[in-house]
Amino acid sequence: MKKIVNPKSKGYLIEILNGLSVTLKHLLRRDIATIQYPEQRREYSDRFRGIHILTRRENGDPKCVACYMCQTVCPADCITIVAEEHEDPMIEKRPKSFEIDLMRCIMCGFCVEACPKEALIMSNDFEMATWTRDEAVYNLNKLMGRSKLAVSGLGFRPYYDEDQSSGKPTMVGPGPKDSFRPVYRDMLGRVDAGKLEAGTE
């Protein structure tokens, strides 16, 4: 039960002073949460799911082999890939076009988890406001050459043991090997535990 202040009694002045004292207390505080964005930027987690990055091979081509795993797994249906033949028969396939519609994207990161080639990772960049709708559809060039990456740094990606402090615009070379190993059961329900532990590539 709250005490109702009678306006005629002038007792509300006390309440106003109470309120002002709270304001004054915060005015004098040193540990304020507000930062001066965009001059100042907050540090985000290494697992932050920002705008996507397509990583490159050493010669600058996209690592992507156009396997459509990301397109298949995408719950928002925002990835569109067109594949074509790669002249190197050991690579065989590459994306002719690769588009992510950031207006549809829900930043779930499934595409990164589905990618078998570590070709698609995410950055810490969350600034995706555009003047036109077309600009929000990121194509191959835009996804590979990300100018703001130096500022934001890498985000959600399959492996973290490499030191990716910040500002590396591309990931070069093969990533670390798969450390996750699912437990498989055969038709008889046996778990091949011994082999699973021993088998390291």
Partner: protein, 601 residues
């Protein structure tokens, strides 16, 4: 139990299988699928992949189910630990040098290696990744096939296909043992009109389609059962489409028509049909230029023209139409308007409906539904008669349905000069361009219906994709026209049209059968009468013959008797004469003797 059936037990289920079937086939009939790579329903047994191992009681070792025939009282186990262990081992060997490139492999999603690895394999490879032996990748074998030797498991399905089905013997296995590999003879590209089947036949990703390569992943596509409209054979196909674009045709198994196969021509026929030169909105010819109009205006114009023309209307159908469209078209022209000017034969191709182009599938008649059009009696008037009456100005309105009349009959230009022509066409053909009103209709994969193939088998096809622009399904347009003309029509889908059509066809078959029966009865009666007459004639003839014979015999006998008598008389006379002479001689001799006696005395 008949003699041709063998009683066996598979996984505790007793069944009877025809003699000569394999254990794998017998197991299939009761829903037990035994894993296999080299076995194919329409190819010979080879037993090269060793994946179909099963345990048969009283056999010392595991047997390959695909080429072990069923024997009386055989007891087969398909899921024992021994069998599963053997399958795992086989898979491990098959995957020894297998490149783990499923993400870029077109077969992924419909690959048996993937499926069986998830079902039976699931081991960790003992092979180091960099110890795998690399073989040729992306080897182009002709126009339709790309080979990857690393993925090949040497099941030889492709080699058997070229030997047994297409008969070109284009592929072979060269070298022996671990060095074995599939290759063409003299490294020449495959020249085989059925080579498009090789990627379908390949259970893994070793042979992939050059045309479909990297176009779409298998799991993204929607599949629709359909019929190839490339010729009168009517091969069963599966249309795979992604986002309203057809990606490929795959042979659908039908042992009565095409088994599992398709010709290259039919397999690629969609590419041109779907995209090239499509008519995507109704157009009206105005002073030499084609001006787009709305469907509403087009329908209004068409109805006005049909009402005005009445019984003088003429219809030119085609063998590319489905049975349903043909039926509705015929009902409109014949029953509603009461016109006999109905025809579908723009050339003599219909005569070739059963002619084979080669020994496998293709036929010379390149229309899918010639048999259906013939069954529905679409060819009534004769194309020359229609041409002549159009030239004479007797036909005010001609409906041409999916028929490129000007291409097939160059002298048909007169029709377009003297008659108001309405052309239903999926593409901008010469005819559609010359038409006074051209209406865009769907191709066969954009609508549903049935085709009757050369052998009279009626086969249903379904809608796989939507037509471009404002195209409408042909049968719907015809149905709407008839509904507007107050015909009592309530068709909701092509299935109901097929029902009505079947009734008409059944009635026709019935009347034909009755006619035949009447004819037969008449013929029987005639034959019986003829026989009777013949018999009577025969009898008369026989009697006559007998009488003649009798007479002759009598005469002969008489003559004989007379002759005998005469002879006897002659003999008697001669004898008498002889006797007299003898007497005379004796008398004379006696006289002489007496005289001599007298002389001498």
């Amino acid at each position: 139990m008949s003699e041709d059936l063998v009683k066996i037990t598979i996984d505790g289920i007793e069944l009877e299988a025809p003699k000569g079937t394999s254990v794998l086939e017998a197991a299939r009939t009761i829903g037990i699928e035994i894993p296999h790579f080299c076995y194919h329903q329409d190819l010979s047994w080879s037993g090269t992949c060793r994946m179909c191992f099963v345990e048969v009681e009283k056999m010392p070792k595991l047997a390959t189910a695909c080429c072990t025939t069923v024997m009386p009282d055989m007891i087969v186990h398909t899921k024992t630990p021994k069998v599963i262990e053997a399958r795992r081992a086989v898979l491990e060997f098959l995957l020894l040098d297998h490149p783990i490139d499923c993400p870029v492999c077109d077969q992924a999603g419909e690959c048996k290696l993937q499926d069986y690895f998830m079902e039976y394999g699931l081991y960790d490879s003992n092979m180091q990744l960099d110890a795998k032996i690399h073989r040729g990748k992306v080897i182009r074998l002709g126009e339709h096939v790309v080979m990857d030797r690393e993925r090949c498991i040497l099941c030889k399905r492709c080699v058997r296909f070229c030997e047994e089905v297409s008969g070109t013997h284009a592929l072979k296995v060269e070298y022996r043992g671990n060095h074995s590999q599939i290759t063409t003879h003299d490294n020449k590209p495959i020249e085989d009109d059925y080579s498009g089947n090789l990627p379908d036949v390949c259970p893994v990703g070793a042979l992939t389609s050059a045309k479909f390569r990297f176009k779409c992943r298998s799991w993204l596509m929607d599949s629709t059962d359909s019929i190839c409209a490339g010729c009168s054979t009517g091969c069963n196909i599966r249309i795979d489409a992604y986002k309203n674009e057809i990606q490929r045709y795959v042979g659908r198994r039908n042992p009565d028509v095409n088994k599992s196969w398709l010709c290259n021509e039919g397999r690629m026929s969609w590419a041109e049909l779907q995209n090239v030169n499509r008519l995507d909105q109704p157009v009206i010819l105005d002073g030499g230029a084609q001006i787009p109009i709305s469907w509403n205006d087009a329908m209004e114009l068409m109805l006005k023209k049909i009402r005005k023309a009445g019984a003088a209307i003429a219809g030119f159908a085609s063998a590319k139409m489905s049975n349903e469209e043909l039926f509705l078209f015929r009902t409109l022209i014949q029953n509603h308007c009461g016109s006999g000017n109905l025809e579908f034969r723009a050339d003599d191709e219909y005569e070739l409906v059963e002619e084979k182009e080669d020994e496998v599938l293709r036929r010379k008649d390149k229309n899918p539904n010639t048999r259906g059009a013939l069954d529905l009696d679409m060819g009534v008037a004769g194309r020359d008669a229609i041409l002549k009456s159009a030239q004479a100005g007797e036909i005010p309105l001609l409906l041409i349905f999916n028929q490129d009349l000007l291409e097939k009959m160059p002298d048909a230009q007169a029709i377009f000069d003297n008659t108001f022509t309405i052309v239903f066409s999926p593409r901008r053909t010469k005819t559609a361009k010359a038409a006074d009103l051209a209406l865009p209709i769907a191709e066969y994969f954009e609508t549903s219906g049935t085709f009757t193939n050369f052998a009279g088998i009626k086969q249903r096809f379904d809608k796989a994709v939507n037509g471009p622009g404002e195209t409408r399904e042909g049968w719907q347009v015809l149905k709407d026209v008839m509904m507007e003309l107050e015909e009592n029509i309530t068709f909701g889908s092509t299935v109901s049209v097929t029902g009505a059509l079947d009734e008409v066809l059944a009635a026709k078959a019935d009347s034909i059968a009755k006619e035949e029966a009447a004819k037969q009865a008449l013929a029987d009666a005639e034959a019986a009468a003829k026989q009777k007459i013949e018999e009577a004639q025969k009898q008369a003839e026989a009697a006559k013959q007998q009488a003649i014979q009798q007479a002759v015999q009598n005469a002969k006998m008489e003559a004989e008797m007379e002759k005998e008598e005469a002879v006897e008389a002659a003999v008697e006379e001669a004898e008498e004469e002889f006797e007299a002479e003898k007497q005379k001689a004796i008398e004379e001799a006696v006289k002489k003797a007496l005289e001599e006696q007298g002389k001498s005395e």
